[in-house]
């Protein structure tokens, strides 16, 4: 297109389109941020749980860190990226509530470290105390919890459904309550999206009460007829397409000389190395045996791999991931 008869109005943009430098850098940046984009899309589901949120965030952060470290042009940024990720670690991955939720969800076969297990137990105690308001009940619940913690690895992943008889009544009740929480406020965003559509140009004078009722009626009417089949897509086909695309791109790429570009070249090691290593260690410390990928924590071996990346949501969807 650049060599065609159509003239570009922006010369810089034309130069970028014709060159290789920008494309090479763009590919790396897209690759680094891709795990986060993937999980944002998955997070918006109304059946998302705290445990799944924890797992997805854990692997997304790990992937981002890994990709930055392996990047040709941006490896020197791994310290800065690790610092950024660490800010988000404490609120979700390191949060006692999220850890407790993951511990109670036997879909995930994590081997938690001793320190993490202590945090989880304390959080369980705090939660039950706040919920029941009774020290006696909390003490009873803790006994059951200890029994559950010992048997956790042997339990079937669907013990939460209540179909399997078990002796962890208290734990089951707490698990159902915590895993019933939706970790996002997308219900508000979705409602506002509907309101924005209803309060369009042609219905701009609708009052607030009428708008509220319209949104409720609209949602109800649409929900009752929305039984269209969900689009089917083939994972194998997508994977093949993605691999072909990557191979094609690799073959067409002209070797890039970073000295000519405006963008700073990568450095193999930097002073940020210690920060990066520290955060990596922090991520690993959550578990006794840190999982490398999602296969390590799921029993199912026929998991879906999209391109070179794991798509955990598909795995969760494949399993009957529902509390009844």
């Amino acid at each position: 297109m650049a060599n065609g008869p159509v003239a570009w109005s922006n010369e810089d943009a034309q130069a970028d389109a014709n060159g290789n430098e920008l494309w090479a850098h763009l590919e790396e940046i897209v690759s680094i941020t891709q795990p986060i984009y993937d999980i944002i899309e998955i997070f918006e589901s109304s059946t998302m749980r705290l445990s799944a949120c924890f797992v997805l965030m854990y692997f997304a952060e790990k992937q981002v860190l890994k990709r930055v470290a392996e990047s040709v042009y941006y490896a020197h940024l791994k310290g800065e990226v690790a610092m950024l990720l660490e800010d988000y670690f404490d609120e979700y991955i390191g949060s006692p509530l999220f850890l407790l939720a993951t511990f109670l969800d036997t879909n995930f076969r994590f081997a938690f470290s001793i320190d993490t297990q202590k945090v989880v137990r304390n959080e369980y105690q705090r939660y039950v105390r706040a919920w029941t308001g009774s020290d006696e009940k909390t003490a009873m619940a803790l006994l059951t919890f200890d029994l559950f913690a010992g048997d956790r690895d042997k339990l079937p992943y669907d013990y939460l459904s209540g179909q399997v008889e078990n002796q962890y009544g208290n734990v089951l009740a707490v698990a159902r309550r915590i895993l019933g929480i939706v970790p996002h406020s997308m219900s508000c965003e979705g409602s506002f999206s509907t309101l924005g559509w209803l309060n369009g140009q042609r219905r701009s004078s609708l009052g607030t009460r009428n708008l509220e009722m319209s949104a409720a009626v609209y949602t109800h009417l649409r929900a009752s007829v929305d039984d269209r089949p969900k689009p089917k897509w083939s994972v194998g086909k997508l994977r093949k397409e993605r691999q072909q695309e990557l191979a094609k791109r690799a073959a067409n790429r002209v070797p890039f000389d970073c000295r000519r570009g405006e963008i700073p070249a990568s450095t193999s090691l930097s002073s940020d190395f210690s920060i990066y290593e520290k955060f990596r260690q922090k991520l690993s410390d959550v578990f006794a045996d840190p999982p490398e990928n999602i296969y390590d924590i799921l029993e199912m071996k026929d998991s879906i791999v999209l391109g070179n990346e794991v798509n955990p949501h598909q795995i969760l969807l494949k399993r009957n991931y529902k509390i009844t």
């Binding site: 297109m1 650049a2 109005s9 922006n10 810089d12 943009a13 970028d16 389109a17 494309w23 763009l26 590919e27 940046i29 897209v30 941020t33 986060i36 984009y37 999980i39 944002i40 997070f43 109304s46 949120c53 997304a60 941006y74 940024l77 990226v81 950024l84 988000y88 509530l97 939660y127 706040a130 919920w131 159902r176 309550r177 915590i178 019933g180 929480i181 996002h184 406020s185 997308m186 219900s187 508000c188 979705g190 409602s191 506002f192 559509w197 369009g200 042609r202 607030t208 009460r209 009428n210 509220e212 009722m213 319209s214 949104a215 009626v217 109800h220 649409r222 791109r249 405006e262 700073p264």
Partner: protein, 361 residues
Amino acid sequence: MNELLNPGDTEDEDVDNGSCNVNSSDGDTGNCDHCGRPFTPIWGAYKKDYKANSKIIERAKCKFCSKKVLPRPKENMLHHAYSCRLMHADADYDFFVGVQGQANIKRFFGTAKKAKTASEEKNLALARFFFSVGYSFLSIENMYFAKLLSTLMEGNFKPYGRRKLVNAYLPRLFSEIPPLKVDSESVITLSIDGWTKRGSENLYGISMSADGEERLLKLIPLEEKSATAEELLKYLREVCKDIEMEHIGAVVTDGASTVKKMRECFVAMNPSVVEFTCCVHKMNKLCEGLMQLEAFKSVKKRSLSLNGSIVKSNKLSAALRRLTEQHARNGKIRSLEIFSHTRFSTVHACLRRLLLLQQEV
């Protein structure tokens, strides 16, 4: 005719006529508990004209044309109903089709009730259509729309106005929405967020998620008030009055300081509830932070500039479309995307699409 179909709605039916003041058990016909046999439903279209100082009904007075007819036999009132023009003008067509040829009072009212249901169903169906699409409410008064309906219904239906649509049918459809089923073990997640309506009116919405279902609970116009944590907490607690507290599991909001403070106060009052920042908002912030890194920033800026110079130029867009059509992948024609600075995912999607169309660009 509505009075005929809903006889109970008629004003001062009994009071005027000096009938019994004891609470009526049968509102439709104005009967009272201790006055013997119930009145026939045809009285819904007539007023009772009593003999002076007596309980004897001397005449039946038509509510539409004020004509007085003998109340006995009851078929007198039915015959007048056939011929009363004012009653005809106010009636549904279906109703009168039903009336034709009916000589028996019981059959007459059986038909009238059926006609009422059918007519109301049509009105409701029209309302449902308008509330499920984004058309202007004014289009219900469009002449050609009325003609279309009239043609389709062979003259049996005439649409009502937009005021009736909004003032009568919207509350009715709203009242028909079944309440959210909350099982004994359901956990409700409450969320609150701000939104700006057309005309820059600031609103706050409170919604809930439970068992995979999401629902907007309340839309609060701020009007002249400020969105302080205290004010928002007051609204949230008001909404919670309709929900059993033990079902509320968490309050999740974005990272704004006022709502953050609000949810902290809420949790302090209700210790069994947990609170945290929405993970999607947080991930958006993380990506925003990543893209703010100096090295990423320049690449992002240049890439978006390249994207913008193609999207905004009609010539370049047309040329790109031609090329993408030639190289369509699996029959899919992809084009460049536009983005919003406040939504990271749109920036990422835009960059990814640009990369996908590298060859064509």
